[in-house]
Amino acid sequence: MAMNVPLSWLRAYVDVDMPVEQLAHRLTMAGIEVGGVERIGGWNDCYVGHVLDVGPHPNADRLRLCTVDIGGERLQVVCGAPNVAEQQKIAFARVGATLFNTHSGKVEPLKAAKIRGVTSEGMICSVLELGIGEEHDGILVLPDDAPTGTPLADYLGDTVLELEVTANRPDCFSVLGVAREVAAFSGTQVAEPDAGYPEEGEPVESLATVEIEDPALCARYTAALLTGVSIGPSPEWLQERLTRAGQRPINNIVDVTNYVMLETGQPLHAFDFDKVAGRRIIVRQARPGEKHVTLDGVERELAPPMVVIADPEKAVGLGGVMGGANTEVTEETHTILLESASFHPFNTRRTADDLKLRTEASLRFEKGWRQGLPPVGLRRAVKLMLEVAGGIAARGIIDVYPDRPEPRVITLTAARMEKVLGVTVPMADAARTLTSLGIACRMMGDDALEVEAPPWRADITIEDDLVEEVVRVIGYDDVPTAPLAAPIPLSTPDTAQAVKEEVRDLLASIGMQEVITYSMVSEHALELAYRGAEPPAPPMRAFNPISSEHECLRTSLRPGLLRTLAANQRHEGVPQWYFEVGKEFIFTGDGLPDERQKAAGVLSGPGAQASWAAAEATAGFYDAKGVVEALCDRVGVTPSFEPLDDPFYHPGRAATISAGGQRIGELGEVHPEALDAFDVRGEGAVYFEVDLAALTEAVPQSARRFRSISVYPEALRDLALVVGMDVPADRVREIIEQHPLVARAALFDVYAGEQVGADVRSLAYRVSFQAPDRTLTAEEVQRAMDRLLSRLERELGAAQRQG
């Protein structure tokens, strides 16, 4: 929430002895961020003018011909305003002045004009034309003492600070609060506004009574009574200050309540007391379904625990938020009951939220429970009302405060300051700063201060709050800078994190682009990705989702990756390899979900960027499997693969991935219907996912062990086998590699077709024979080959391929 503070108003309480840029900087550094500085005025060619003569226009009944003195120069001007009169001081704009043109609706230079045949040498301005208000019914009439000929910018100009106030500082939603900050910069103190007034009426207790039913919701209610007030417009100075602070003037009584709220931070409300039944105010919870028309004319349905201000018959206001229409101050009002109370912050906020009625008052109440403040604002407002609306104030004030707490006394020690800040601050300096801020304190010896938090600072509750008060005014820049000197805590290696980062690096290094997709997806997208398979758990929905596209927490990374693929295919063509490392959220019990960290990828088209020099091949099952094998190899895990039936995948082209007997993931060619559902084009896509926790589990505990490299040569032999279609290739390799003289076997060709016959395929291996202690003879190798063949024939029905 922003607060506009006109410099002219601020100066009423404190000397501002620095340029506005420096002031803005100091405030910002101290925690009151100045978001903008608006300069009112800056009018060129505008002066305080003195109307010497007003005469009729020769050619127009409604227009007048005026002679205006702007300091030694007399100019003739045509004016159509009904309120122009001789001897007035007015704002005069010469030709060339830049003003708001009410006809064009633009800010533009004033042109010389002949109006109905008479030359006008300028214009007498309204506030609308000057850009300082919305009135355009008449001209702006300046006070009689305005010095003729003074540039208007000097006389009327001002600077408004636009403050961004943090939630802990409702006191800075007041000009006085900001003034205290400014005072602290120079070590001075603010001039408190005058709140003394003659109490000439009856004792207030004889005129009105107040009762709080629920002190937990309204801690304090103060009230004053004025009789014989005259309602009318506020004086110019009051209207001007309100306008500059961004408030619209209404009438003198309401204006004072707003003025004092802006001045002190205490919201106030004035009731037309003659409309309050029984001369009695009851602060109570709203009844269920109770109806009440607020000042904005809207009928609102209330409910407990909203607080209403009521008389014995009806609600007359909504506590802490807005007054009621039935007791509104009007031109006929004679008696005012002025309320200055303290409402529960959260209840006020909830009321304002529920009714969608956030007001200046509710915003101030909800940010702090400042029970000391009501009488301060009340007395100041009565003083001003007597000034601007006349009348007589009743003797005394009503102050209902059932549970008055002890004053908050806090001790600030030099030791704590040093412990927190790392620098010694003399307590005398601390005391001066706190006093400037209006925080009363006294020295307790040399090294401690006893501090009483002021009524307007509910945020000060502990010693460290005072440490901050002192250091923020001194400036954080003045605290020295020191590296961390404490010993570094012992660290424990985190394999899971290492595995995650290794996997990321590996996948990127083999040509996959990392993406990060939203953790929330639509339920529909998940259904499309499961295709009827049982999900690990129903997805958890958001109570207040961002949109239907992001309504529930993902239980699978599939939708995000397929969407990314499809979206990029639209502008980049088919070949795309993407991966994501992210969480799936599985809600099984009643508590927090199992957050499964996964690495998943989707491959479509050839992996390398399409090249002029390479033939393109579409990524298939074995590409994804190769990726998974490389990924596992990177972290020292040996995966195994078993066929998987899952409707997300193409039948017969999917596998589970296991390691150490545990399932760690799955992969497969995505079912064409699933691709279609996600608008993926091209000849297909392969998907894989690996559960990183399970993968980490499978990482060998011990470091890799070195095996000595044989100095004896390898003997290479090709072994081409014909085996049945249903014989897994992995089994063939296993048998070959089990032979003690076989160092390894690499599959280099797979063939199925008429050359080998139906229902069989040919698998060709390059087998490397080696012994650790000798060079193998040709006869030894041949014997090993014969043994291998006979075992393969016996166990798998394999035959050596002929020709």
Binding site: T28, G31, E33, T166, A167, N168, F346, R349, E366, K419, V420, L421, G422, V423, I462, D464, D465, E468, V471, R472, Y476, P480, T481, A482, P483, L484, A486, I488, S491, D494, Q497, R504, D505, A508, G511, Q513, E514, V515, I516, Y518, S519, M520, A542, F543, N544, I546, T564, N568, H571, E572, W577, Y578, K583, F585, L592, G607, A608, Q609, W612, A613
Partner: protein, 356 residues
């Protein structure tokens, strides 16, 4: 009868003719023919003449032999030279023919890239790891208790306004909504302090969520890195020192750092950390799009851990102090790479991702 002058004449003749002929040899075949013609073991002219030397007197044979050997050595060395010359001429020729268009694109191995957020997050954590911080991670679905309560933001606290929350559609046995998507990585402060006694020195990277409308500078889904150091004797001066070092490592030593007062309910005093704008060099140019004329770019919130937060987590606040900080990774990536719209990060447009 062969005479010495005769042989010497022939030798002279062979030498002259052979050298002249060799000059005209232009390929390997001609060279081989030349070699056989003069040096061939059976019919080579030099071989034949040397054979005839046997008919000479011993005296003459010695002196003629010396000359014959000279001729032979000459021819052999000329042969070797010619062989070399032909070989290099052939290689030079081959090289001439093998010219390439070096501007054709290379055949590069496929290379993917890490998401710019991953890269930035690594850079940030690396800076803190170099200062002895450890990386830990925490849950993205959190309890109100950790996300707010343990951070000194009880229900009804006005500071809850600072964190527009995405709640999950779930209520506990008391009928309260208590599960949410963490609005910051700060709940890990409480979780870590509950589980460990000081000294603590950790950074927590992770995704966070806000119930917020998206625009060029706001995402509902973004990334933070949280930091926490708790021990005896940790001060505000240490906070400044640590974050200066971070800014130097990540943004370079030429950047200035500004610490100003700000409010976060879980720290006291609270700090807003900014670096001077590298777009307008801290000048605060009124039309600067990066700093909007202030000359400063806010990069993180920080502060001394609030005594109540220490206390709630079971750490004696009279003995221990600490500091905490939190920063938005997207914001830092945007500053580092000059990205002007946060929505690029999770749009996952390959044309964007491949730039990093």
């Amino acid at each position: 009868m062969t005479t010495a002058p005769e042989i010497l004449g022939t030798l002279h003749n062979i030498r002259t003719v052979a050298v002249a002929e060799l000059d005209g040899v232009e390929d390997d075949a001609a060279l081989e023919a030349w070699r056989i013609a003069y040096l061939g073991r059976r019919e080579g002219r030099l071989t034949l003449i040397m054979r005839r030397m046997a008919e000479l007197e011993a005296e003459e044979r010695r002196s003629v032999g010396v000359q014959a050997n000279d001729v032979k050595a000459l021819l052999e060395s000329q042969l070797a030279e010619k062989t070399e010359a032909l070989k290099s001429a052939k290689l030079a020729q081959a090289a001439q023919e093998g010219r390439l268009d070096v501007t054709l694109p290379g055949r590069r191995p496929a290379l993917g890239r890490l998401h710019p957020i991953t890269q930035t997050m690594r850079e940030i954590t690396r800076a803190f790891i170099s200062m002895g911080f450890q990386v830990v991670e925490g849950p993205e679905v959190e309890l109100d208790h950790y996300n707010f309560g343990m951070l000194n933001i009880p229900r009804g606290h006005p500071a809850r306004d600072m964190f527009d929350t995405l709640w999950l559609d779930h209520t506990n046995a008391e009928g309260e909504r208590e599960m949410l998507l963490r609005t910051h990585t700060s709940p890990m402060q409480a979780r870590i302090m509950e589980a460990t006694q000081p000294p603590v020195r950790v950074v927590v990277p992770g995704r966070v969520y806000r119930f917020e409308a998206t625009d060029a500078t706001h995402e509902w889904h973004f990334t933070q890195v949280e930091g926490l150091a708790v021990d005896r004797g940790i001060t505000f001066a240490n906070l400044k020192g640590t974050l200066y070092e971070f800014a130097r490592l990540v943004f370079g030593s030429e950047r200035r750092v500004r610490f100003r007062c700000d409010f976060f309910p879980f720290v006291e005093p609270g700090v807003d950390v900014a670096i001077d704008c590298f777009s307008c060099d801290g000048a605060g140019a009124p039309d600067c799009r990066i700093c909007r004329g202030s000359g400063w770019i806010e990069i993180m919130g920080a502060g001394m851990v609030h005594p109540r937060v220490l206390e709630m987590s079971g750490i004696d606040h009279t003995e221990y102090t600490g500091f905490a900080f939190g920063m938005g990774v997207e914001r830092i990536a945007m500053l580092k790479y000059g990205i002007d719209d946060i929505r690029y990060f999770y749009g996952n447009d390959a044309r964007f991702l491949r730039q990093f």
